[in-house]
Symmetry: C2
DNA sequence: ACATGTGAACTGCTTCACAGCG
DNA sequence: CGCTGTGAAGCAGTTCACATGT
């Protein structure tokens, strides 16, 4: 197998694997910046908090990227990982909910860097509509469906209050968007052909208090 | 086994289990608000996107909370889950980094509701020090160690640029704080007696683009 | 000699299926 | 009779260990 031919994954790839690929890519980009030319699975593992076997297994699902006895070429592996993760192209993103979380996301630098372009923000609050969120126009949520047909964004970020999250997700689904990053602290139910990732601070905090309570001092 | 005697978990509890307990609790609180008195594992499973066997197994690690043939008492199970998750008491939280993410967290309502009290925010930017973040005093990071000795917060939220995250984590560790919620998009290395949960938007987004690229249309 | 790539073994989470009890 | 609680089975993800290629 060859590193040029990016074999599409044969079996379903575990979430945990994809997350680790993100981590590896971040280190590779750091190494690229420092001009390093090769890296071993051992080195990637050490920095990523995993094992070298895990690194090699993760990569093996997509092809053969290293040279035996040598390791991986930093620029080549970076390129491959970007391609695998779908970062080899631009993505249009809409933010729904122009509150604090929307603002934090809109100004996040790593965002544009990685090819994510925020095309619009939406809100239903008349006081916010027409204003801007970190330079991005805040539009009336009533326009949402019509706009999606024109702009065809691929990703929607949900930063709305939890009470409205499911209803908004349903609208997003009907509009044909297949990927959602949800910040509302609720479990959402989506059609099978949609991917929803939820970032739930409340849940993470409860993971902490559980640890403090049960394995703590 | 009895629902009153909250048996401390015998074996290590999986992260995935703890996260589901959070989800169950959220539904139970909703049911409590609506005055429902009992709920079945089936009902909890349906709403939480899992199976009834999973719900029962998750709960079984901590005791026996249901009545056979009947289901679970909503208020009793709520109370037990709050206790298991460590929400039966207050927690002092410090936010490090008074940027947009810090602000979003500081204003998040579910926060205080669940017993998290933000005692202070810290920054090293002279322009921010002395100001407030959603009503919370922004202190000079130089004071951090001294303040921790006085206030003894249990949880630190890291909302600093990724370049500084590891250094700040090391300071937090040395100051004796054992639980950290990290928003910097980097893998952090912490002592074994510390719990670190990382919320990484970049990683979640890459999970979406991976899905769009590899299983998409 | 060295580090990759990968079947095989292992570990642990999830699902099954049913005994137990209200 | 219904729904919980739980060993046992099944499955998925991780780790091992070594053959392979440079």
């Amino acid at each position: 197998m060859n590193s040029q031919a990016l074999s599409p994954p044969v079996k379903r790839i575990a979430d945990s694997t994809v997350r680790r690929l993100s981590i590896y890519l971040r280190f590779l980009e750091e190494f690229e910046g420092r001009g390093l030319s090769t890296v071993s699975s051992e080195e990637l593992a050490r920095r990523g908090g995993t094992t070298s076997a895990q690194v090699r297994k993760d990569l093996s699902f997509f092809g053969s990227f290293g040279k035996r006895g040598l390791g991986y070429s930093v620029p080549e592996l970076s390129t491959s990982l970007r391609e695998i993760l779908g970062l080899g192209r631009g993505w249009r993103v809409v933010i729904i909910g122009a509150g604090k979380i929307g603002a934090a996301l809109a100004q996040y630098r790593g965002f544009r860097q990685r090819g994510f372009q925020i095309v619009a923000a939406y809100d239903s609050n008349a006081e916010k509509i027409g204003g801007t969120l970190e330079g991005i126009e805040i539009r009336d949520m009533h326009r949402f469906e019509a706009d999606v047909e024109k702009d065809h964004p691929e990703i929607a970020v949900l930063a709305v209050p939890m009470e409205h999250a499911q209803a908004v997700l349903d609208r997003v689904a009907r509009a044909g968007i297949k990927a959602v990053l949800n910040f509302a602290p609720v479990q959402l139910h989506a059609p099978a052909d949609m991917t929803v990732k939820t970032v739930n601070m409340a849940m993470e905090l409860e993971g902490l208090t559980f640890a403090l309570t049960n394995q703590g001092v």
